[in-house]
Symmetry: C2
Subunit: 421 residues, 2 copies
């Protein structure tokens, strides 16, 4: 059992955030539950703010004026720093001339060309607004191109909030999952069994870039698993779909499975693509062009030029900065520092997944009380960490940011150590 | 048969748009079919440009430098004029401080409060990015709140591009429509029959604001139909869902069914809400709050503050300008003028739907050749009309714009008259 010191008894519930509390009260009146979706602070320890008022570089400021070094990056979209001057200049310049119209601007072609150039498995691109737009389009394109129906999905994997994939049962009918077959990530035997189960009706296999399920140690895909997914898809004339919505452009600019030499037939992109500007993309191989054309993929803002200009600038800057190397360097500094602290304090802490998308979970912490105490303590000391979701580094994170984080993690780990002894 | 004059034989296929043609060639390489979705110019007569380079007020400029008075408003999102200075100032000011973060800003509450204040049937609001996000959320919320499954949808109605509602069969499996029951818009008997068919499993009835199916004369809902939809939903403890994505804020700021005194349980909004900034919303009645909370509705950019600031400014400005009255006045001027021209030329033309969202279809024109000749002629004279989709007026359209349009329609109607005699 966790013995929480007196001043931390409430895990920060009494941390004074009067403006945040007032806004929560107002929000409760006009929004069901005060907030919907993955950004609801009700899913976090009580000390976490719900509302923010400023975001610059790696710093977030809540509505009560507390500023944090942020390690969530808006759950992924921020990859160059909030309000990156180059991205904002490109978006604003395009917006001033034209964003929406009765058709796209040249910005759409420039972005598609850059993605095809950057991503070896991409022969073409289509754009949308949400990660869910992209993953759902991949499923529909795979079905249209193959004339088959079954889609293999890893148990517990998050691929968006549409009825076929949402993690919550509310509003879902059984038929939404009629042709979904589950397998276990990184388990070749289970994938093979799912392929057998799907039989001649296999349209596609969808895989996350790596196993990044919340509240679970992260796992990189094994080369054996990735190659099996590729060859099983080939043998069934099905599409291998890599869901790179969350991880895209943080592991490899060419796609997260590219370093393993495994080419996706279809890839879904979103979050980091426009450094926060709303955009999603599907890229695919030539054999799926006709399938893509036969699916009605559309939305009122899907051709908006300003987010495309933002995305083009984001991708170019990621190349120029060698951003992945930079994020790995800072992520490794954080991981090594925290590991050393935990070891010295004899706290059982598991840091998993790629260092630039770290997850920290404590041993013997099924109720996440240690995680809550750890992240609440860090929050009080100006560092925003997440208790059970993977975090995100960006190319804007500096050594100073990491060192600030390490001061906070040291205090957080000490609090956990004190509470467990 | 239509006898097209020699210089119009190709309906404008040879109209010189060299830059557009070059961009189409580039796009074809990196985008399946060169363009996806509702903005593909391949669905339009050949003289229509695919790519645009500027949008200001009511004027669109294509990549070859031709400027048009626009009557499509980007298929609806533009309602105050492209690049409206007040909306852009609000969005830019918010963007400079914060748009995305690890949670929303106060802008979300302000917008939700304004929508609840503006829309009598709204007790709460939730925001997304696409019209399809909003309609799909309405269906899921109705199912979650009622614990039932059947959704009644009018045959031929467009409610978005998700598998449950997309107008194209590509990528759709039969189970996606397992609990969809069709009825005929404005036909009380067919609606009653669909309710009987759904039996005790009726979760919701979705209706478009008015019948605005493409290529079909538009119809306003009859009061009898609207009241029947309301009472049938009540009797079955089901949700009445008004899809106001396309029509929202053009018929009545309080909701398109509000003037008939029929309150929606759930309404879907998007297009015009942010004057082009990407945003969608669901509003609903109190009894659906719990249902809304039980559905996992989320997306990476759904809390972005800049489009919310844009939407708040748009709604306020629509109020201040008495925008609906202004759009009706201009729409009526266009309708009356075109009707007079058609009558004088003895051309059978049907103008249907609300004057601010007009559709013009010719008699004896199943292959849309007259529509093509009419709109192509107008396009050559600097006015962008649509041959088979409803058009959109905005609060920025002036008497001068309408008079410019009437010069072009006169020429278009003359061409049709000449070709048919």
């Amino acid at each position: 059992m966790l013995s929480v010191p007196a001043d931390n008894q409430d895990h920060g519930a009494n941390r004074p955030l009067p403006r945040d509390a007032a806004l929560r009260g107002r929000a409760e009146q006009v929004i069901p539950g005060g907030m919907w979706g993955h950004m609801s602070a009700k899913r976090l320890p009580p000390a976490f703010p719900q509302f923010f008022r400023a975001a610059q570089g790696t710093r977030l400021t809540d509505v009560d004026g507390n500023t944090y070094v942020d390690f969530m990056c808006a759950y992924g979209p921020m990859i160059l720093g909030y309000n990156d001057p180059d991205v904002e200049a490109a978006a604003a310049a395009q917006q001033a001339i034209m964003s929406i119209a009765n058709g796209p601007g040249e910005a759409m072609i420039e972005l598609a060309e850059l993605m095809v150039e950057t991503i070896p498995a991409a022969d073409w691109a289509i754009f949308g607004k949400n990660g869910t737009d992209a993953t759902t389009a991949c499923v529909s394109i795979a079905r249209a191109a193959t004339g088959k129906r079954k889609i293999l999905v890893a148990t517990g994997a998050y691929h968006g909030a549409a009825p076929w994939c949402t993690p919550w049962p509310g509003g879902v009918v059984a038929e939404d999952r009629a042709h979904i077959v589950n397998y276990t990530y990184n388990d070749v035997t289970s994938l093979e069994a799912a392929v057998v189960d799907a039989g001649k009706d296999l349209a596609g296999i969808i895989v996350s870039a790596f196993r990044h399920d919340a509240r679970t140690d992260q796992e990189m895909p094994t080369r054996e698993f990735a190659q099996a997914a590729r060859s099983l898809a080939d043998r069934s004339h099905a599409a291998l779909i890599v869901d790179d919505v969350r991880a895209g452009f943080r592991l490899d600019l060419g796609g997260s499975w590219e370093p393993m030499g495994v080419a996706a037939d279809l890839s879904a992109w979103s979050k980091a693509l426009g450094n926060g500007h709303p955009i999603a993309a599907v890229t695919g191989k030539d054999w799926l062009r006709d399938g893509a054309q036969s699916v009605y993929l559309t939305g009122s803002f899907w051709c908006a030029a300003a987010p495309m200009a933002a995305a083009t600038t984001t991708l170019k800057k990621l190349h120029e900065l060698d951003a992945v190397v930079q994020m790995v360097r800072m992520g490794q500094r954080l991981r090594d520092g925290v590991a050393e602290q935990a070891k010295a304090l004899n706290v059982g802490l598991r840091q998993t997944g790629p260092v630039q998308m770290p997850l920290m979970l404590f041993d013997d912490d099924a109720d996440l009380e240690k995680a809550s105490l750890f992240t609440t303590t860090a929050l009080r000391h100006g560092v925003y960490l997440h208790p059970w979701h993977n975090m995100f580094l960006s190319a804007a994170h500096s050594e100073e940011d990491i060192d600030r984080a390490l001061e906070a993690t040291q205090l957080g780990l000490k609090a956990v150590a004190a509470a467990t002894t």
